[in-house]
Symmetry: C2
Subunit: 761 residues, 2 copies
């Protein structure tokens, strides 16, 4: 911050004080322009300081972002660092309510004041066009977003970004929940610290990451960055609608507490290849008085474009199981044979090779999972390791690693789909690209066609390892474009996509609701790597951009019992149940093995009963990294659609009702579709809680229930002696009558939690 | 060369002298192994010098390649530079005759002696596999090839090449015809000089290249490198069957005259990503007593794999015209509008934009070309600039530059195809990728499908500009794989491919005969940039790997008359005629505008009459860069297939006979398919000559004609006063009776030439 800017800021605050806090300011002398949020609490100011564009943000008279620089360093002569003049400004207000295809609530209000600032650098020669850069600000009650726009009439037509120079000048040494900056992975454990401690704690924070990581700075952190001021304000810096542009990290100046966008470069070091007219993603600053307000914010979704898919009837929230954890836990393997030092697709003759006998995706085992998933009313089953090539799929930077269409000899794809459909189960396809996106794109159309042919309507894709094209990173512009290509091509085939190891989402699921899941953080697959408390960070950071396929539901924490591996997972059974409510996802997995659920069928009932799509969500209690308690009300149209979906399954059994439908309609376990005729849906709520490694008591009112209506609650809670280290499988299940007046008091064990189903009597 | 190696070489020569020249040597003491060519003239020796593998080559007792190192520097610990022991050797002989789908002769003999040398580096630790590297040598009468092979049983499974260290230690400061080494373009004028002059002449040799070039060494040159020793031996160093491996340059040590392979790196600097079992391309050394023997060599084709396409009935040599030269010459444009500073596919509304009026690929103009091509018995018409996106197609590194399926508003693709087919003409598709291969691959299947839908069976593809994926080069392994992918995918669609700006071919057309053309050198499109004499280098270098779409036939050399541009091309009309015989290609263009041919219809008759596929070729006279005289005999089955092909054209006119068929069957201009019934093909020969910038007289016997048979020759020769600078359009056409005893005497003007048709009476 220049001293001139400091002086300017002082004047601004003085002016704001004179005019009273939270009042809308008219344009100030010079080039300063202010704009408030609809409720007046947030005030943003744009100003040109000696030709350098800056912005700042106040919350109720309290500075949140000090004057911060805007601009770019470009490749070549033209620089967008200063020398700007203001040539126009437009203010407007927007207020609409829109309905997501799926989500945490049935409708979302998108209400903001907008300011478009038009800047130009005067042309240096006669007859030349000036370089034009616009900045569009949107101020909401819970934060702001701004993006750069480059209009068509411009000295800049095609240009390359060397650095984006957007700053977020903070007001102090806030507490932050952060993961280290990186170009290729976000699979780090979140750290809670003061910003001033980031440098010191980064080496430790980088440990435990399974992939070759690409650090760029000793104080780099990733978006979304959740912070908390000493005044108790929750500030979250993120980005929205990242398309045709690299994902950013934030580089921290830990002396001045200024964050700067640090874009992911491409293989030639370019940080954005632009063609006017074009725009950048939104840079966002969320400002909330409480942690639960952060969870309730829809800022990121609102800054994305409306749904681009006309017919969304084929998109449906899904609860699934998978032939997956047995590979992750070491019990079985993705691969088929140990015969060869390496395999070559189309050349290696699997039919003539010796099976090593540990291949998980074999016909018999898959049928066993189909049977269990069907018996327990699930919608779908994921099977990994079904296709040729897993013998040396990772770490080789192998180009042609999979073809995505050729099953192993012991995986009878047509027969297994037919078997599943007869039982009302859809199989979920798996496409592990091994980050060879060149190869994945070559096969994508054939792979999607195969899915259409056999009735798969969802795919889990994966991006493990270093990227091919060589030299690219997971978060560089070409890869952002690849992920988007995979989504849009899938939409043409009516396929839902759940991409793992892809870039963290930035609200694009509003526009492309077939993007039903992402991993993009350390999920349960990291086994013992998930710290207690870690999951209570994600809803503030990772989940702000879209749902996470966290793969909860692991009931057997001691992997020695599963596979002989020494890993011990750090949670209780009830913690896992709580995740189904606290972590929103339209795609929820019951990740453990059928045999492990069979030992705890009463607790498993919660997973069967819990819905996956909501018309209302209430964030009862939360603190990042500590605990969360959330209540949700299911969206009945989705429940009904799921029942209908079964009937639409190709050659599928027509009398199947999934477990959520049974619960909501209070049907018996052996109910069939015929029983739905005339059945009445009950009013149902679910409450979930998760906890860090400090046992705690929580109490909350059920005042969200309908007044005067009687409900029955089934409370799945940690047993008194439950503890993630000493007794993780101890739980109690209590049924009791509740009303809107009930106050619920519960104890969460260390790394514990709870799940509650509440159904109208 | 180490002094030890020099001593070893001396011993070797001594041994050879003792045993007599050109005799097959048994294995020598130590690890030296020799092998001769079938006729005994060439002797190659393999030896391990202190664990370093070396080879050398003698021709009739005369050293051609002195002991030269073999091996690799790898990324990581394992190095393949020395420490080898010989663990096995296999010798064999091979002799077969194969028939190319198209080519310079109907059958080709593939006759060689083979030596497989099995080398190992002993395992450093107990239980480890040893690193295994095999070298396979094939010695022909006209040269040798060798490649590295890595068997499956190997300490090396996946490995990365840092440098290939293959040397070619020459015996002196030979004369060479070379172009500068480069990773991305071969569009340089060839230079003739001593090897010792390469360093001094390289800066000049690099001028005139239109693309951003990527030099790597002040003495780098490209394959094929044609040399001539002071003893008159012609030595050509090249490579064959470059697949899944980068193309090599040759780095010259100009003190010791040692060439070394210098592979093209990928975006991460890796020069080859290998998975055992695998093999490198062949490295070749051709050794001939005369320049015409170089032209007659089939070494490169023989070292490629047999045809991989089972049904080749859809592959047919083609003579074509194009809506092309008018854009190259500046008369019209590829683009459609000047309305926008830049365009965006799918967003720019061309239908509502203002045409700039110079768009060449408009319906009316294309119909005019179709009419002219049909009237003159051509097979096909290329149209460039037919599809949206040309307004800013080049130089922007724009990813989504074309979709390859959306025509401009004034190009009615279905109607123009229907019109062409009714006249017996096929349209040739054009796919300019602008080197965005990521984008091209995304659209390739749709683009090929569109071609199939409308009856296109050939595509000219282009790779102008810097490559996307970013950081890749035209000749790096990922791009080699892309070109191959484009060819093999095209084959599935029965599409022939003629790729421009792609890598120089290395004989792959034997395996994939739908690869009917490549540019990969400075073609006629460089207008005034083609030096007299330059074309007489290409058959020794560029054409060794496969045919070139040189686009000959420019009759109007003064472009001021065409477009107002000041360029003057440097050749006579008869020089252009000579190219149709001296430059073999199954795809021959008559590149000039219809209106220019209309002014010289008598000379144009030669282009109409000349065939494009041969059962016999005789190289009568040649010296690289100076002159060439070639006689060729057409393959009648191809001629008949062409006539048949017309009938197979979708919805095509059934009574069309192409001009070559008319000439060979001596049918009148207005002949129809019906006239072919009962018509007898005449014995026909064509002779062509091309010349550098020294006028010269040539004389040659027609002793290749059938003895005792009378023929009529039509001789298209430079007029007495013809000269490329002062009188380039002056020619004479003389008809006379000839027999096998005739001696032909002709004068070729400066940058002149001639064409002769000889038809049995």
């Amino acid at each position: 911050m220049t001293s001139m800017m400091k002086i300017f800021k002082t004047i601004m605050i003085a002016v704001a004080l004179v005019m009273g806090t939270c009042l809308q300011c008219a344009a100030l002398p010079g080039d300063a322009i202010t704009m408030t949020s609809p409720n007046g609490n947030l005030v943003m100011t744009f100003a040109l300081a000696d030709g350098v564009p800056t912005y700042s943000l106040d919350y109720c008279g309290q500075a949140v972002i000090l004057p911060s620089r805007l601009g770019f360093e470009l490749k070549g002569r033209q620089q967008l660092t200063g020398g700007f003049v203001l040539v126009g400004q437009e203010k407007s207000t927007f207020d609409e309510t829109w309905e997501p295809v799926w989500g945490e609530e049935a409708s979302i209000r998108n209400h903001y004041n907008e300011l478009l600032v038009k800047l130009q650098q005067p042309a240096s020669r006669d007859g030349e066009k000036p370089a034009a850069m616009h900045v569009r600000f949107r101020v909401y009650d819970d934060g702001m977003g701004f993006r750069y726009e480059f209009p068509m009439e411009n000295a800049l037509t095609y240009f390359m970004i060397k650095e984006e120079l957007t700053q977020f000048a903070l007001t102090g040494d806030h507490i932050a929940w952060w993961i280290p900056g990186d170009y290729s992975t976000q699979e780090f454990r979140p750290t809670r610290s003061r910003l001033s401690q980031v440098r010191e704690l980064t080496p430790k924070a980088r440990t435990g990451c399974g992939w070759p990581n690409t650090a760029f700075s000793p104080t780099g952190v990733q978006t979304a960055l959740q912070m908390k001021t000493d005044q108790g304000l929750y500030i979250n810096i993120h980005e929205a609608a990242v398309l045709d542009y690299p994902t950013t990290n934030l580089d921290l100046d830990d002396k001045n507490f200024v964050l700067r966008t640090w874009l992911t470069p491409d293989a030639e070091g370019v940080k954005g290849r632009m063609q006017a007219p074009c725009k950048t993603p939104w840079r966002t600053v969320m400002v909330c008085r409480s942690a639960t307000d952060v969870l309730a914010s829809r800022l990121i979704l609102n800054l994305n474009e409306p749904c681009a898919i006309k017919d969304v009837s084929w998109i449906h929230p899904t609860k699934y199981m998978g032939v997956w954890w047995e590979m992750i836990s070491g019990k079985s393997q993705w691969s088929y044979t140990n015969d060869y030092p390496s395999v070559q697709l189309g050349k290696t003759d699997y039919a003539r090779s010796t099976p090593h006998g540990k291949h998980g995706a074999n016909n018999e085992n898959v049928r066993r999972y189909i049977d269990f998933a069907a018996e327990n009313g699930f919608d779908a089953l994921l099977i990994e390791g079904w296709n040729e090539g897993w013998e040396d799929w990772y770490g080789k930077q192998k180009d042609f690693v999979f073809d995505f269409i050729t099953p192993y000899p012991d995986f009878d794809l047509p027969a297994l789909n037919a078997y599943a459909h007869q039982k009302g189960i859809r199989l979920i396809m798996h496409h592990e690209s091994s980050s060879s996106t060149v190869n994945y794109e070559r096969w994508m159309e054939k792979a999607y066609n195969l899915m259409n042919q056999y009735g798969y309507d969802a795919v889990k894709s994966g991006y493990v390892g270093k990227i091919i094209p060589y030299g690219e990173y997971h978060y560089s512009q070409p890869l952002i474009n690849h992920y988007h290509y995979a989504i849009t091509e899938a939409a043409k085939h009516h396929i839902m996509v759940n991409a793992h190891e892809a870039v963290r989402p930035t609200g694009l699921c509003r526009t492309w609701p077939n993007m039903i899941g992402n991993e993009s953080a350390m999920g349960n697959e990291f086994r013992a790597g998930i710290d207690p408390g870690q999951t209570a960070v994600y809803p503030f950071t990772r989940l702000q951009g879209g749902p996470m396929d966290f793969t909860p539901g692991i009931f057997e924490m001691d992997l020695e019992k599963v596979s002989g591996w020494a890993d011990k997972m750090r949670h209780t059974i009830c913690n896992q149940l709580g995740l189904y409510v606290t972590f929103y996802s339209p795609l929820q997995m019951a990740a453990d093995l059928p045999e492990n659920y069979a030992r705890f069928m009463d607790a498993f009932q919660f997973i069967k009963d819990v819905a996956v799509d909501w018309d209302k969500s209430i964030y009862l209690m939360a603190e990042p990294g500590e605990y969360m308690v959330t209540a949700r009300h299911p969206k009945l149209s989705t429940v009904n659609k799921a029942a209908e979906g079964v009937a639409k399954l190709p050659d599928g059994k027509k009398d199947v009702v999934n477990s959520v439908t049974k619960f909501i309609y209070a049907l018996p376990d052996n109910a069939t579709a015929a029983d739905l005729n005339g059945a009445k849906a009950r009013d149902v709520w679910y409450v979930g809680g998760i906890n860090d490694d400090h046992a705690r008591e929580v109490s909350f009112k059920l005042d969200f229930l309908k007044p005067g209506v009687k409900y029955e609650a089934a409370i799945y809670a940690d047993a008194k002696d439950a503890d993630y280290e000493t007794n993780p499988q101890a739980y109690t299940i209590t049924r009791k009558k509740v009303t809107a007046k009930t106050v619920m008091k519960l104890r969460m064990a260390r790394a514990g939690g709870f799940g509650i189903t509440i159904r109208e009597l």
